[in-house]
């Protein structure tokens, strides 16, 4: 099946992002196609490149980045959610005259149109961290 995920939760604070990642791994292992990961609201913090995790805690940022890279997943961060939360790519950073970008290289920034597109092209869309 073709599956997309909507991730609402920040890493660390609540468990939703962790569940989404494990679900995504299990879906891939079962041979399903992940059409898109859409990070919405606090979920955009999963794409924050400046986060530093203690060595003895699970670094979800690194785990997402590795999963996305290994499986060439389409990972989109909602632009409206991201701007308010300080998750910017180079283009947004320079547009809003901010001194630095903070989006992990594995993620794209785009609008809710990408979420609608995921609904259109997926058999299932599952929400995590609501």
């Amino acid at each position: 099946m073709i599956i997309s995920l909507v991730i609402h939760g920040a890493p660390g604070t609540t468990q939703g992002a962790q569940t989404a990642l494990s679900f995504c791994q299990a879906a891939l292992a079962a041979g399903h196609q992940i059409y898109r990961l859409f990070f919405y609201e606090d979920g955009v913090h999963n794409a924050h490149a400046l986060a530093v995790w203690p060595q003895d805690e699970r670094d979800l940022h690194a785990d997402w980045a590795a999963l996305i890279r290994a499986n060439k997943l389409d990972a989109v961060v909602c632009v409206a959610s991201a701007l308010k939360r300080g998750v910017l790519n180079d283009e947004e950073a320079s547009r809003y005259e901010k001194p630095a970008a903070s989006l992990d290289a594995g993620f794209d920034i785009s609008g809710l149109g990408q979420w609608v597109d995921a609904c259109l092209h997926s058999d299932r869309v599952v929400s995590f961290g609501v």
């Binding site: 099946m1 599956i3 609402h8 609540t14 468990q15 939703g16 569940t19 494990s22 679900f23 791994q25 299990a26 879906a27 292992a29 079962a30 399903h32 058999d123 299932r124 599952v126 929400s127 995590f128 961290g129 609501v130």
Partner: protein, 97 residues
């Protein structure tokens, strides 16, 4: 089958499980995940609905992480792979936050 209800919050702290039970229909299934698995003790007495062919699951990884096991009859433990199967088996899913 129609809807997979995903309950991820503690039934003691929030009304997520109650809101799920208010909407669940024959043919639907329920999966308890994250702090939602605290519902394993509560679900059966509450659930006349279970008699109507509503299956109920609890994510085994979340149970084990909390030192819990499935106490009530009629609740089946399942792992992430089983969670994926459930999502595919149902037409849609509703995450009760």
């Amino acid at each position: 089958m129609s809807t997979l209800h995903i309950v991820s919050k503690s039934p003691y702290r929030t009304d997520a499980l109650q809101r799920c039970l208010a909407l669940v229909a024959p043919g639907d299934s329920i999966i308890l995940i994250e702090d939602g698995v605290f519902g394993v003790n509560l679900l059966t007495p509450d659930l006349k609905a279970l008699e109507e062919g509503i299956r109920c699951y609890a994510l085994s990884e979340d149970l084990a992480a909390r030192g819990l096991s499935v106490a009530a009859a009629g609740i089946r433990p399942t792992d992430y792979a089983g969670f994926v199967v459930l999502v595919c088996e149902h037409r849609n899913s509703l995450s009760h936050g």
